[in-house]
């Protein structure tokens, strides 16, 4: 019994195990059944087995109507059932009426309460102060004070000397910015005059580099090597065709193509690094907020006419950055 039909029949032992005769026995059983019950089903004609109902008592409904009438059981249970009779209550009427009035009254005090405790339950958080010496707090920002008082020159009516001091500081800040823009390297222009005579690879490469630094989309947007190569080819062809006598475009060799793709990869790496540099410069720099000091013209000595600082949120934000709680970044948030 354990062996399949394709097991080896070598030797007497193989024959000794029962070869299943199930299929033969099944056949016999079936045929006897059929004979006893009146014939083989597959042999019977279809008219005897099936009956087509051609009566038209129930009208044919449209599919939509059928769907609409379907009601969920839970919903139907909730609906009022006319067959269910109301059971008379066992409680006396006075008690019922009281319950109703309670429900109505409860609403108003609850509303009033809502205004008062809108969240946390007020309690003395440090009531049992005596036994809480076990916690040790990690004080990371204790060196720089949270609120730094402006020096005396920022008073609304400062002494002449301290005012000059602060003005000097403010001027120094501004001049530093000016100097940085003046003395720093020239920003690369976005487009430069293209020289159509560039034929050798080196010249083309230098032009390409310059353009890449100016973030020209022409080379950066390229993902597919082959696309770029085609364009490069087209460029080459155009430039060559434009200058020299019209002749058949030179077939670019495989060697040259490989070279170009390698250089393109190099260029991509360079731009990536430059981007990284830029980001790191943005992140590591904390820009001190401008000194809030009155200009000499604005110093009137009158509190009413004081041109006050209206961007105090910035002061708070810079203080957070200074203490290292927020990481400064040059991006404009909006």
């Amino acid at each position: 019994m354990g062996k399949g039909s394709k097991s080896s029949r070598k030797g007497k032992k193989a024959w000794r195990a029962n070869i299943s005769t199930e299929d033969i026995e099944d056949f016999f059983e079936k045929s006897t059944k059929d004979a006893l019950s009146g014939g083989n089903l597959s042999a019977a004609p279809s008219e005897e087995l099936f009956h087509v109902d051609k009566s038209h008592d129930i009208p044919v409904k449209r599919k939509i109507e059928k769907n609409r009438e379907k009601v969920l059981r839970c919903d139907s249970v909730l609906k009022k059932n006319p067959f269910v009779q109301v059971v008379s209550s066992s409680k006396p009427k006075s008690k019922i009426s009281k319950k109703k009035t309670n429900v109505v009254e409860r609403k108003t005090p609850k509303q009033a309460q809502k205004n008062v405790d809108d969240g946390s339950v007020m309690m003395d958080l440090w009531g049992d102060d005596n036994n809480s010496g076990m916690f040790s707090i990690q004080k990371l920002t204790s060196t720089i004070p949270a609120v730094e008082v402006d020096p005396a020159g920022c008073s609304y009516n400062p002494t002449a000397e301290s005012h000059e001091d602060m003005l000097a500081e403010a001027v120094a800040q501004e001049m530093q910015k000016v100097y940085k823009t003046e003395l720093g390297p020239e920003p690369v222009p976005l487009t430069i005059d293209g020289d159509a005579n560039i034929e050798d690879e080196a010249g083309l490469l230098s032009v390409c580099n310059r353009i890449i630094n100016g973030k020209s989309a022409y080379f950066l947007g390229v993902d597919n090597g082959s696309e770029g190569e085609e364009e490069a080819d087209a460029e080459n062809e155009v430039s060559e065709a434009g200058n020299k006598l019209p002749r058949t475009t030179k077939r670019v060799t495989r060697v040259v193509l490989n070279k170009r793709s390698r250089q393109k990869a190099l260029r991509k790496l360079e731009t990536k690094e430059k981007l990284k540099e830029k980001i790191s410069k943005e992140i590591d720099r904390f820009e001190a907020p401008p000194v809030q000091v009155l200009l000499t013209e604005e110093m009137t000595g009158s509190l009413r006419k004081l041109k006050a600082c209206c961007t105090l949120a910035r002061d708070r934000f810079k203080s957070l950055e200074k203490r290292g709680i927020l990481v400064p970044s040059k991006n404009i948030r909006r």
Binding site: L125, F135, I137, D150, P151, T159, L303, S319, R333
Partner: protein, 587 residues
């Protein structure tokens, strides 16, 4: 036994094992950036600067222990729950089921920050130490306009306002205010509570602006935390005064924006054992209006009581636990017996805070004020116009700077310079220690003299007086003095050395039997005297170098750095003096 398996690339020790980048942290916490930011702010976890940034300079690094601390925070689960709940709201809205969306929004799960406050500030003193930033933030948001774009609701602004007023009422009631400085940015206050100096900044009464370079989402998260913190602190402080918190104020006064005054009345009434009846209906019917008026009158009378008998009030509030030390007493009695009236254009909120904190009685123009402009007992009328209209003779008309300068000097300054129409003298900063800087502005000297005079009146000891009227210039020569002292010490030392030598020589001569040549000794002395001149300087230098010789190299370097700093300061002082001279010459 299988070896302990560590995944490839995971370091065991060093900076790489101790710090992780922000993206790594996000992945380990399974949370998105906004939530992570909020959680960090609320838990007080900040990025660190490791010595070696393993993944590059352009990442922010967090300590691994901090992040694992975050992982066990139940608030994380709460935030996630809220996020999924908001998804339900979004779904309802997308199915155009506005009612369901509204219903769901009212049942939104909320979270509380109480536990976090207890965690971050286990004792009350710790919480007081962090109050600076908290107070400044709350005061700032109390005057910002509500804006939909920045998600700043009106309710929030009102809450901030209420908290800031409660704090100010407490400080002024317990006379804890010590210094005030009016600058361009705003008004700086410093108060002292339980030995802690708390400094905060209040903006001027000008419309604040939302700038582009500030991330208001972050500020709002901070505000949320600080609001809760300040509420708990106020609760504890009010309880120490035996006043019920949260205070329920007279709604009429609140409507008139006289919160501070209403609070001070509430505290007075509560501390005296009376209870102010709560007003549940803000929309008052006629009945409650009458009730309000009668209560107002009653409370006003009570307010008048302490003004006339300050001593009685002290006795009444006997259960005050606040021990009054020397400073509080001086502050309390600064403006005693003086009555102030504020004109419309002066910074009312600020003065309403400062004046009662120093014992004065204030009123202003408008409804609900304790007394009117034409009250006879007003001693000072604070005005900021170029000229006063109708001037009463019994009172002085001064500019608001007079009050601030008096507060900083702790004496009543003469009002001449601050009268109406004049440019007042410069407003000095009390946060600058003039002695330490070495340079004292002119007006500060005047104030010092007045202070000394006032102290003389109180303590009539002639000896003390002379010492007080020291020339502040002496302090500049402090360095020189010590040098002269050193030179003197060197000279005496030299003399002692000479005398010793002489004694030894005489002994020797006695022993050897040679007669003492008295003539030779003066020559020797002279000769020695000639040599002694460089000797004195040598000895001087030696005594100066002596402490440095004994120091380690590290300390020596520190000492030299200190000296350089002092030199720089004295140079800047010299520069300022030069400028002063030039200004005077130009004038």
């Amino acid at each position: 036994m299988p070896k302990h398996y560590r995944p490839a690339g995971k370091k065991k020790e060093g900076n790489a094992a101790r710090y992780m980048t922000r993206s790594q942290a996000l992945k380990s916490l399974q949370v998105n950036l906004n939530l992570f930011r909020r959680l960090c702010i609320v838990k007080g976890i900040f990025p660190r600067e490791p010595k070696k940034k393993v993944k590059g300079n352009h990442h922010t690094y967090y300590h691994v222990k901090d992040i694992s601390f975050l992982q066990h925070e139940p608030l994380l689960e709460k935030f996630r729950e809220i996020k999924t709940y908001l998804k339900k709201v979004q779904k309802a809205k997308a199915k155009k089921n506005e009612e369901l969306a509204r219903l769901l929004l009212t049942r939104q799960p909320t979270y509380k920050l109480d536990r976090l406050i207890r965690e971050r500030y286990p004792t009350f003193i710790d919480a007081l130490r962090d109050l600076d930033d908290c107070l400044t933030m709350v005061h700032l948001f109390a005057v910002l306009p509500a804006s939909d774009r920045e998600n700043l609701e009106v309710k929030r602004v009102h809450n901030c306002r209420r908290l800031s007023h409660e704090w100010q009422a407490y400080i002024s009631r317990t006379h804890a205010l010590r210094k005030v400085f009016v600058s361009v940015k705003g008004i700086y206050y410093q108060a002292e509570l339980e030995g802690q100096k708390i400094t905060w900044l209040t903006p001027h009464a000008i419309q604040q602006v939302f700038t582009n370079d500030v991330d208001f989402g972050v500020l709002l998260t901070f505000l949320e935390f600080y609001e809760t913190l300040l509420a708990f602190i106020n609760f504890k402080l009010y309880h120490s005064l035996n006043v019920k918190y949260p205070p329920i104020l007279d709604s009429r006064l609140e409507a008139l924006a006289a919160d501070l005054y209403a609070l001070s009345r509430y505290i007075d009434a509560s501390s005296r054992g009376m209870t102010v009846e709560p007003k549940v209906d803000a929309s008052s019917s006629s009945q409650s209006n009458d009730r309000a008026e009668s209560e107002l009158r009653l409370a006003q009378l009570q307010h008048q009581l302490p003004s006339s008998e300050p001593g009685a009030l002290m006795h009444l509030v006997a259960d005050k636990e606040v021990e009054e030390d020397e400073e509080t007493r001086t502050c309390k009695s600064l403006f005693k017996d003086l009555k102030f009236f504020l004109s419309r254009e002066v910074p009312r909120e600020s003065l309403l805070f400062v004046l009662p904190a120093f014992g004065g009685i204030v009123s202003w123009e408008g409804e609900g004020a304790p007394f009117n402009e034409d009250d006879d007992s007003i001693t000072h009328h604070i005005i900021d116009k170029p000229s006063a209209g109708h001037m009463y003779l019994s009172r002085e008309y001064v500019q608001p700077q007079w009050i601030y300068d008096c507060v900083n000097a702790r004496i009543i300054l003469p009002t001449e310079k601050y009268l109406v129409g004049r440019v007042p003298p410069p407003h000095l900063s009390p946060f600058v220690d003039n002695e330490a800087e070495g340079y004292v502005p002119d007006y500060a000297e005047t104030i010092k003299r007045l202070q000394a005079a006032a102290r003389n009146d109180v303590l009539p000891l002639p000896g003390v007086g002379k010492e007080d009227l020291e020339d502040p210039q002496n302090l500049l020569y402090a360095g020189v003095m010590s040098r002269t002292e050193e030179a003197e010490a060197a000279k005496t030392k030299k003399k002692m050395a000479e005398l010793e030598k002489q004694y030894h020589e005489e002994l020797k001569k006695e022993v050897t039997g040679i007669e003492v040549d008295e003539e030779a000794t003066p020559m020797v002395e002279e000769g020695e005297g000639e040599e002694s001149v460089p000797d004195a300087s040598q000895i001087e230098q030696d005594t100066a170098d002596m402490p440095t010789l004994m120091m380690s190299r590290k300390k020596k370097k520190l000492y030299e750095a200190m000296k350089m700093g002092q030199k720089k300061k004295s140079e800047s002082v010299e520069r300022i003096k030069q400028r002063k001279k030039n200004l005077k010459a130009d004038q």
